[in-house]
């Protein structure tokens, strides 16, 4: 009886801490002054390393992933956590598909290194028209067979949009489903479906556990700038860079085609998770990666519309602007105030505060070079500078510049402890 009372008290405490933490972050996003500077990080594979496990172990063993993540959550106590399953417990799913766009431990990467993307033109320049006519048909018959070895059989299918009715398409378009290659691909998809469902189940289990411990989850959905999706997964970095000169209209049309898809992806997840914060990693719009004019023409319009649409639906877009985006600050300021959180990697934070301070919450910027190669004193000095300047008057969330993967534990500890002590308003 006594033990149970104790547990109930803990639960009430956790519920109160959960409310406090959520308020702290929401205050920062809404540009109100919180009780102290919130701190959140992208742990990446840091938890595995911290527990002395290989990356392969946590990519394949859900219990190990669960335990290592929970351990760093309880030890470091970020204001919000990440449910790690969707982008970490990938081994069995990737194998079921024979996925080609990643190399991961045991599949082209050693057991202790993070998985990595394999650049490529997974859509050729002359396939824009197919993509624009019907992205789903393009995905199933052209793209999936290229990025998933076990879905190669779908190459044999007839156009999916041709299957209309008994005398329009039924005989010729349905017939390929009888082919053994297609049956194999369908079976692989079913197997992959079961693995994906496992990921989702573990993710719910973890989110529940974090909640019981008093920790909200940072973001409940994932989406991308349409230009990034087009470049990352379809045309490749080099292919899309050249397309901006060789077929600019097609690039813009493809981004517009992707916009409602990127929006739907985010909205469906936020509705399912009940979490309004949407993570948007920004890859290809950075300074240097295109001119300001190209940014305004190709990158920003559909990203802006995506974020505005999300805000209208009550969501908080949380882009992570990788690299240096200092020259973009004036342009990306053009969204409703107090709704979004912009994390920056190497952007000039003073300029960001000056230009964006009354519009969006800022986050991040503690360099991984310091977190890996520096000392706890270096980390504290850097965090102090951020809190004194960018943190002034609220609207800032402490975080590393990008994922923690290889950071030194004592440096991570210094970042957390210092922020909790010094970051009080």
């Amino acid at each position: 009886m006594q033990a149970m009372d104790w547990r109930m008290i803990m639960r009430e405490d956790a519920a109160e801490l959960y409310r406090q933490r959520e308020k702290r972050v929401n205050d920062a996003i809404a540009l109100r002054v919180p009780d102290r500077v919130p701190i959140e990080v992208l742990f990446g594979f840091f938890p595995a390393k911290y527990s002395g496990m290989t990356i392969e172990e946590v990519m394949y063993d859900p219990d190990k992933l669960f335990d290592t993540q929970l351990k760093v959550l309880l030890e470091f106590q970020p204001d919000m956590d990440q449910a790690p399953f969707a982008i970490r417990f990938l081994g069995p799913l990737l194998e079921a598909l024979d996925f080609k766009q990643l190399k991961w431990p045991g599949h082209g990467i050693t057991t202790d290194h993070t998985y990595q993307f394999v650049e490529g033109e997974y859509m050729t320049a002359d396939e824009y028209d197919h993509f624009l006519l019907d992205p789903s048909d393009f995905l199933v018959r052209k793209y999936w067979p290229r990025v998933c070895g076990n879905l190669k059989g779908f190459e044999k299918l007839a156009p999916l949009h041709g299957v209309i009715t008994y005398y329009l398409g039924f005989n010729l378009s349905i017939a390929p489903f009888s082919l053994p290659e297609v049956a194999e691909a369908l079976a692989a998809m079913q197997k992959a479906g079961a693995e994906a469902a496992r990921i989702a189940a573990h993710s719910r289990r973890y989110t529940q556990k974090a909640k019981e411990e008093g920790f909200p989850i940072q973001t409940g959905a994932f989406t991308q700038a349409p230009f990034d999706t087009l470049g990352d997964f379809f045309r490749g970095t080099k292919g899309l860079m050249l397309d901006m000169y060789r077929r600019p209209d097609k690039v813009i049309k493809a981004c517009e085609k992707l916009l409602p898809i990127m929006f739907e992806t985010a909205i469906n997840s936020t509705r399912m998770s009940g979490n309004p914060r949407v993570f948007i990693p920004i890859h290809k719009g950075l300074d240097g990666f295109m001119s300001k004019e190209q940014f305004k023409r190709f990158f920003w319009p559909t990203l802006q519309e995506l974020m505005q649409g999300l805000i209208k639906e009550g969501c908080n877009p949380c882009p992570l602007w990788e690299g240096d985006c200092t020259s973009r600050l004036e342009i990306i300021k053009d969204i409703p105030a107090g709704k979004a959180c912009y994390a920056f990697e190497a952007t000039d934070m003073l300029k960001a505060k000056e230009i964006l301070g009354d519009t969006v919450c800022l986050r991040g910027n503690v360099p991984l070079s310091i977190l890996i190669a520096g000392s706890p004193q270096d980390v504290k000095a850097y965090c102090k500078k951020l809190i004194d300047t960018v943190g002034k008057g609220g609207g800032y969330i402490m975080d590393a510049a990008t994922g923690l993967d290889d950071a030194k534990p004592e440096n991570v500890k210094a970042m957390f402890e210092f922020t909790r002590e010094y970051g009080v308003y």
Partner: protein
């Protein structure tokens, strides 16, 4: 030097540049002269990049134009007429990292700037850097890496060069996503470059040319 060709190419007019090259070849212009003009154009492209007038996509497009010109012109260049190179650079993405976009741009810019570049590719073990440094005898070793795991791989590569007694014979430059001066100290490299033109400038400074 054909100044029309230089400016068309430097302005990244891909179709017009290639058309002009075909015309010049028909007129019997010396292919080496065409290549000289193309290199002069790349020189201008590099300058515009340094002045923040051009960005990576412009370098990539310039590279494609250069490739297009070379495909037309190179088969016509007589053997033995090839330019002498300014110096040797060994380059590669370090062990564990499979990223190559940045490294490829650096390799291309060094090559077009007249250096003899040996590109070892991606995920290159320290021992391969050592072996190739012995064989190729470069003036400069360039280590590329996008992920943070590359810090340790770079450090190990520099250590391996030291242990093999080769460190004093080469300059080591590093570059990539997270690389800054903090990482340069950690790795014991001689310099880091923030982009491809910085890499070219470092090599010019160390080797000359």
């Amino acid at each position: 030097m054909d100044s029309k060709l230089v400016y068309l190419m430097a302005d990244l007019k891909e179709i017009e540049t290639i058309a002009l090259v075909n015309e010049l070849i028909k007129e019997g212009v010396n292919p080496n002269e065409i290549l000289g003009s193309a290199r002069a154009a790349m020189e201008l492209v590099g300058k515009r990049f340094e002045k923040d007038e051009y960005f990576i996509p412009d370098l990539v497009l310039a590279g494609e134009i250069m490739k297009g010109i070379s495909e037309i012109v190179k088969p016509l260049v007589k053997k033995g007429e090839a330019d002498t190179k300014k110096g040797k650079v060994l380059i590669g993405t370090v062990a564990g990292d499979i990223h190559d976009i940045g490294k490829d741009i650096v390799t291309f810019m060094l090559d077009v700037s007249g250096f003899d570049v040996l590109d070892l590719g991606i995920d290159v073990p320290a021992s391969t850097f050592v072996q190739k440094t012995r064989e190729f005898q470069p003036h400069v070793v360039g280590l590329s890496g996008f992920l943070t795991l590359a810090f340790d791989s770079m450090k190990k590569t520099v250590q391996a060069l030291e242990e093999a007694g080769l460190r004093d014979r080469v300059k080591v430059m590093i570059g990539g996503g997270q690389i800054d001066d903090e990482v340069r100290r950690y790795v014991h490299a001689d310099a880091y470059g923030k982009d491809a033109i910085a890499a070219v400038n470092l090599c010019r400074q160390w080797i000359g040319g």
